[in-house]
């Protein structure tokens, strides 16, 4: 049976209370076997992977040689601007849909629900193919007689990709933004109205800035997946980063070396984006994170 010493060092019997002071005693460390084991496994796996790639049949010099190749730079540029444009379209549509979703007007509400249902439901590749082949359905496009053109001239790989990705991103963004709006306390809207704001001003100045805090992380996620999804547009002839790399290895057969070039660039872009997202999150988190009292 264990006994513990009290302040004076006397042993006391279990079941009795002594004036023990734990700060006066030596602590015995508990060994975290589970953690040690997992660290060991991770180190081992990392070593294995690095070794495999170092000894594997990859000519890293070639990877480096193609890193800033002009056609790859062009593809990278296309991937970046396409992602930014489509994400911007997505956020604008998403915001409108999120607001319409909570409208008192049933037509607006229904339209918003239908939009999200359709563009989230149909596979993205399918949507891209439909946009690209729009000329098969509508040979000519016209806008109330103000503007008319042959569909094949308007729907290029670029416009088809913008439509496909932008409208799809809008459907996802609408749900994200709606969740963010729902997360803002109703009292905020009332307080904004009480100082004479209209609904639009209250939304822009009071509710949206607060919703941004919860909207940014999932929206950042969407942006990152958008960057990678643009590679899907290669099937309708848009030359993004992945496509430009493929074009090169079809010729020189340096498949892995060139795929590594693409991998590096995708990771670089996503890293920059993550840093940017962190900055934005800090900006919109103001007032919510307790600062040190002054």
């Amino acid at each position: 049976m264990h006994t513990t010493p009290d302040r004076a060092g006397r042993e006391t019997a279990p079941g009795t209370v002594s004036d023990l002071d734990i700060s006066k005693m030596r602590t015995i460390r508990t060994i975290p076997y589970g953690r040690i084991l997992s660290v060991g496994l991770i180190v081992l796996a990392a070593f294995g992977i690095v070794r495999a790639f170092a000894m594997g049949d990859i000519n890293w010099a070639i990877t480096w040689q193609y890193m800033f190749w002009p056609t790859i730079m062009m593809g990278l540029f296309n991937t970046i601007w396409m992602s930014i444009v489509c994400m911007a379209i997505g956020v604008v549509i998403g915001l409108m849909c999120a607001i319409a979703r909570d409208s008192v007007n049933p037509v607006l509400r229904g339209a918003s629900i239908f939009y999200t249902w359709f563009f989230r439901g149909a596979p993205l590749i399918l949507q891209l193919l439909i946009w690209f082949n729009l000329a098969l359905v509508f040979p000519r496009l016209s806008l109330f007689g103000l503007f008319e053109a042959r569909t094949v001239e308007v729907i290029t790989p670029v416009t088809a990709a913008i439509l496909g990705f932008g409208l799809n991103a809008g459907a996802y963004a609408s749900e994200i933004i709606r969740a963010g709006l729902l997360g803002v306390d109703r009292g905020q809207f009332e307080a904004a109205k009480a100082i004479g704001m209209t609904g639009a001003t209250a939304l822009r100045r009071i509710v949206l800035p607060q919703a941004m805090r919860t909207v940014l992380p999932p929206l950042g996620n969407e942006f990152i997946s958008m960057i990678k999804m643009t590679s899907l547009a290669s099937i309708i002839g848009f030359s993004d980063l992945l496509r430009s790399v493929q074009n090169l290895y079809f010729v020189n057969t340096r498949v892995i070396e060139l795929l590594m070039v693409a991998t590096v660039w995708y990771l670089v872009v996503v890293t920059i984006l993550s840093i940017f997202q962190q900055m934005l999150e800090r900006r919109f988190g103001r007032g919510f994170v307790r600062r040190a009292q002054r």
Binding site: E190, I195, R205
Partner: protein, 261 residues
């Protein structure tokens, strides 16, 4: 101010009714508040006090009777014999005449205390930012918080937040201040500082309607006390009359239960 204007109440409610689904929140509420008057509304929870206040500020619509502010019908325009609801913009303009202080403060958490106060003047009244800041600092000084101008609401105590909320409402230079149980969400030791600000405001001649459970404040500051129960105004009188010598049985019962608590 001419004689006629002085005689017109700032706020008039005439047989106001409000129904939520099948619950009658307000029934034939009549009430006049003159300029410079401080009126406290007391009564048990669910008696319609807060709903009435929210109707005056049009955060809630009323569906019977009429409410008038400076002789202007709230929420509607008369077109011959018919009524046309005002647009959102027009309602926002009517609302600017009243300031509202909420039970749960409802400060804008993403803005500093100073920005909370300047937001309305800059965004709604289109004041120049420098001018709005100057006015806001004066208001924060008035509620004793100029040192906390750069603090965010989360860094302030409940009492401080409510004082900023009062400054925010005052920044719109309202004709009328509405207080919806302004001290009910506060720790007991913080109630005093908020009541003191309200007392100063009353002494400066601000017209105030205060929904409150603070009987001491009602007795000391208000010109008139309205007792409401089950959606109706049961009794109205000066604080002394109503509290020391209530005519109605229900008022007596309520005052007794509050005194016990």
């Amino acid at each position: 101010m001419n004689g006629a204007a002085a005689a017109t109440p700032l706020v008039s409610a005439r047989i106001v009714g409000k129904t939520f689904q099948d619950f009658e929140a307000l029934i034939e509420v009549d009430c006049d508040v003159m300029r410079g008057e401080v009126v406290c509304i007391i009564g048990p929870s669910g008696s319609g006090k807060t709903t009435f206040l929210r109707c005056i500020n049009q955060l809630e619509t009323y569906d019977k009777g009429s409410i008038w502010l400076e002789g202007e019908l709230l929420g509607y325009r008369r077109v011959g014999e018919a009524l046309q609801p005002l647009t959102e913009k027009e309602i926002a303009r009517q609302r600017r005449k009243t300031g509202m202080v909420f039970q749960r403060f409802n400060l804008f958490p993403h803005l500093t205390a100073l920005q909370n106060v300047t937001e309305g003047p800059i965004q709604v009244l289109k004041r120049r930012p420098a001018e709005a800041r100057e006015q806001a600092m004066a208001l924060l000084a008035r509620v004793g918080l100029e040192a906390k101008a750069e603090a965010y609401p989360a860094e302030l105590s409940g009492g401080q937040q409510q004082r900023v909320a009062i400054a925010r409402a005052l920044a719109m230079q309202p004709q009328l201040m509405l207080f919806d149980e302004p001290t009910s969400a506060l720790d007991p030791e913080l109630v005093g500082e908020v009541l003191q600000v309200m007392r100063d405001l009353a002494a400066d001649g601000m017209t105030m309607i205060v929904v409150t459970h603070e009987m001491g404040f009602a007795r000391e500051v208000s010109d008139r006390v309205i007792f409401m129960d089950k959606g109706r105004v049961v009794e109205t009188g000066t604080a002394a009359e109503l509290m020391s010598n209530p005519r109605e049985e229900r008022t007596r019962g309520f005052l007794k239960s509050v005194a016990r608590g």
